[in-house]
């Protein structure tokens, strides 16, 4: 132990305490920074020289303190859990919000919904059955029937618009994911450089981890950490980011609603196309997304599967097509064989043709039209009955209550979408609670506690003060030794 080594010890403490105080300052500065993980200056005592030798001056006391590094107090497992839960929650939330929008567009159960419009139409037919000779009653039937056809078409085009918007947002989200992946790759490269040069890249790691979590939310990515501090981001088992390289994703498949719904009535039937996410470098290879918002949107965009369990939007469109077809078929079947009201002196009217028709080349729900132009062309009388017979109109008016009526199809569609919405919303809520719990655990570990940092500041300040006191007392000791020793009798 040399005479002056105590000075060095005190100095090392002064340096270490100041550095620790700086770290506490950095923590406090970032108390509200998203993604910031608290840091700690790691202090290690410096051992004394322990080499035994004849003239060794070591007295076994250590040589002070040193900062060995600034560690990031995150927890890999908690981070992983947050990402897994985020991927699941985003997936369900995307689906639930698509169903909620779809459901809100139905306008049921409301005073102005399609169900009420159908009822109004059937009632108008009954009124016409009561007064076949009144053109006003016929005009009401035509108006109400047109209103129903318009409403079905509006519902269909709402669904189509939602599909178009969902597809556009899928493309936007995939672009966002690609940008985030490129950022992660870039940060990986910089982190590696900094770590190789012995620096601390904690803040860059925070940014990178935030981006990886964002990727989990978008495309359900998972992360795997390398020894050298870089992170690989995996999607469906393949690398989205591998070290300093990122691989882009691309959206493929149906580009229009018509392509997604297919055409079940065509000969041969045209199956609906899926929208898929593939690797841009290898378009034949699907990305196999199993979580995240994009995967949720892909299920929403999916084609109908014939059992009602396909994509939300295409299934809704298929239901509307069925509804339009059933309405036209049932009304036409009765209307075709009936006779119009004859103009006296004629006592037998003309045979009524189709009441509803479809525009060619359009899906039934969109192409449904009232083929009759004037009230006089509505056929209300049974063939062979009297001129002012209204029995066919009455039979058409009764269709609403019959089994397999358009009303019952619509009610089934509404209830189906409603129960799916309810169940998905409930599941999305549960997933969100799980995600929030995982995030709160992660935050509990990683976020800055101001009280704790204040205490740390106190401790480091006191440490600094004490080290300077040590310095002073050694100085005084040396002063005694140097200036006051050997002056006896002077």
């Amino acid at each position: 132990m040399s005479t002056f080594s105590g000075l060095g010890t005190a100095l090392s403490s002064l340096i270490a305490q100041r550095m620790a105080l700086d770290v506490a300052g950095q923590n406090i500065a970032n108390v509200n920074t998203p993604g910031y993980t608290r840091q700690r200056a790691d202090m290690t005592s410096i051992a004394g020289t322990v080499v035994p030798s004849m003239f060794s001056t070591n007295d076994g006391v250590g040589n002070g303190v040193q900062i060995t590094g600034i560690s990031r107090l995150g927890d890999l497992f908690l981070d992983t859990r947050v990402r897994t839960e985020t991927a699941g929650a985003s997936f369900l939330s995307a689906r639930a919000s698509a169903y909620t929008t779809l459901e809100a567009g139905l306008g049921e159960p409301g005073e102005t919904g399609l169900a009420n419009q159908l009822s109004d139409m059937w009632n108008a037919w009954q009124d016409l059955a009561n007064t076949p000779d009144k053109t006003s009653a016929g005009a009401v039937v035509l108006e109400n029937s047109r209103a129903v056809a318009d409403r079905i078409a509006t519902l269909y085009s709402n669904v189509r618009t939602q599909w178009d918007q969902s597809r556009a947002s899928t493309v936007a989200l995939v672009a966002e994911a690609n940008a985030a992946a490129a950022n992660v790759a870039d940060l990986n490269a910089r982190i590696l450089q900094i770590q190789n040069s012995g620096g601390s890249a904690n803040e860059l790691m925070d940014q990178r981890d935030l981006l990886v979590t964002q990727l989990s939310s978008l495309v359900g990515a998972s992360a795997s950490y390398r020894e050298d501090g870089q992170v690989d981001v995996l999607v469906g088992g393949n690398a989205l980011v591998s070290g300093a390289r990122s691989h882009a994703l691309a959206v493929q498949g149906a580009t229009s609603f018509a392509a997604a719904t297919g055409d079940a009535d065509a000969v041969p039937p045209v199956p609906g196309q899926s929208v898929t996410v593939v690797w841009a470098e290898n378009p034949g290879l699907g990305a196999g997304l199993d979580g995240g918002e994009v995967a949720g949107l892909l299920t929403v965009l999916a084609p109908p599967d014939g059992t009602g369990n396909g994509g939300a939007l295409t299934e809704a469109a298929a239901s509307l097509d069925d509804l339009a077809t059933a309405l036209a078929t049932q009304v036409n079947a009765l209307h075709n064989g009936a006779r119009t009201v004859p103009v006296p002196p004629a006592t037998v009217g003309d045979l009524g043709g189709d009441f509803f028709s479809f525009d060619a080349g359009q899906p039934p729900a969109l192409g449904l039209r009232v083929a009759i132009e004037t009230p006089a062309d509505i056929a209300v009388a049974a063939d062979g009955a009297g001129a002012l017979d209204g029995s066919v109109a009455k039979a058409i008016g009764d269709l609403g209550k019959a089994a397999g009526s358009p009303d019952s199809l619509w009610s089934k569609t509404v209830v189906d979408i409603g129960s799916r919405t309810a169940s998905l919303t409930a599941r999305a809520k549960v997933a969100e609670v799980a995600r929030a719990a995982a995030e709160s655990q992660q935050l509990a570990q990683a976020s800055v506690n101001e009280d704790e940092e204040t205490i740390n500041m106190l401790a480091f300040q006191r440490g600094y003060e004490a080290a300077s006191r040590v310095l002073t007392s050694i100085d005084e000791m040396l002063d005694t030794l140097i200036n006051r020793t050997g002056i006896v009798g002077r």
């Binding site: 108390v31 000779d133 001129a387 409603g418 935050l443 101001e450």
Partner: protein
């Protein structure tokens, strides 16, 4: 393990709780302001299906009620036409009996014949009674008159009666078969009256036609009772419709209307909870160690 607590976790937790409380309040307020429990099908899919069915029932019942009131008008028209016809025919019968008096001079006979012809005219008018443009005795005919000047019945066959739908499976006939009530062509009550007038003018004895008049009268009486029975049916149907309407409205209200007292109570409770959460947030987020260090 006791989790580490930081200001950030408290902030997040507080925010999430406030958000939950507020959204619960918003849901209750939506119920209060709309008065409905079910605003979208997912609020209660099973109940939504009931609501759709009951709403449609309501509209169908309203239509049945319209049909009933239309049918009632038809039946009333038929009934009053039949009663007037009976009065006319009774008068004609009285005149015929008078015409049987052999002491009557030609002038008196002429007067009787003229009056009977006038009665025939009135009877034909009754037979051609219309309700909003439809001849009530000619069924589904569009000729505009049930009987023309040659007493030919223009109506359609009895197979196609005019009916009104008053229930899911109940139709009530609202017209009357003119051919059955008044007879057709030469066999009609009009031809009979003409015949009597001719007999009177020719100085003959018309009383041997009294039996024919009685036959027509009994036909009319039969129809009057039939119309009365149908009107009774109509009234019963109307009562049933009113009853069912009430039931459906009650059911609908039970399913979709809120229990106001309950919602108000829940809203109050929620408000207290929300205020509590706000108070807690204000207290917890305020202090830190820095407030106490000098």
């Amino acid at each position: 393990m006791i989790p580490r607590v930081t200001h950030q976790t408290i902030q997040r937790q507080t925010l999430a709780n406030l958000q939950n409380n507020l959204s619960a309040m918003a849901a209750l307020q939506a119920q209060m302001s709309s008065g409905k429990k079910i605003n979208v099908p997912s609020d209660d899919p099973a109940a939504a299906s009931d609501v759709l069915r009951l709403r449609s029932d309501q509209r169908v019942l309203a239509q049945y009620a319209r049909n009933v009131s239309d049918g009632n008008s038809w039946l009333t028209t038929v009934d009053s036409a039949l009663n007037s016809s009976l009065t006319i025919l009774r008068r004609a019968r009285d005149l015929t009996v008078q015409g049987g008096d052999g002491a009557l001079g030609p002038d008196s006979r002429e007067a009787l014949a003229t009056e009977i012809e006038g009665l025939r005219e009135a009877l034909l008018d009754q037979a051609n009674t219309t309700y909003v443009g439809r001849t009530v005795f000619a069924g589904t005919s569009n000729a505009g008159r049930a009987f023309d000047d040659t007493y030919t019945f223009t109506g359609s066959p009895t197979a196609n009666p005019v009916e009104r739908r008053v229930g899911a499976a109940q139709n009530i006939r609202v017209d009357s078969d003119g051919a059955k009530v008044f007879g057709e062509g030469a066999g009609s009550v009009f031809a009979l009256l003409d015949d009597i007038a001719t007999t009177l003018r020719a100085g003959g004895d018309p009383t041997d036609r009294l039996d024919d008049i009685d036959v027509h009268m009994s036909n009319m009486l039969q129809e009057v009772s039939s119309v009365g029975a149908r009107q009774n049916q109509m009234d019963r149907a109307n009562a049933a419709i009113t009853d069912t309407k009430l039931t459906v409205t009650t059911q609908l209200s039970g399913i979709e209307d809120i229990d106001l007292a309950e919602v108000i109570l829940e809203l109050q409770t929620q408000e207290v909870t929300y205020k509590g959460a706000l108070g807690a947030a204000a207290r917890v987020l305020q202090p830190s160690l820095l407030d106490f260090l000098r």
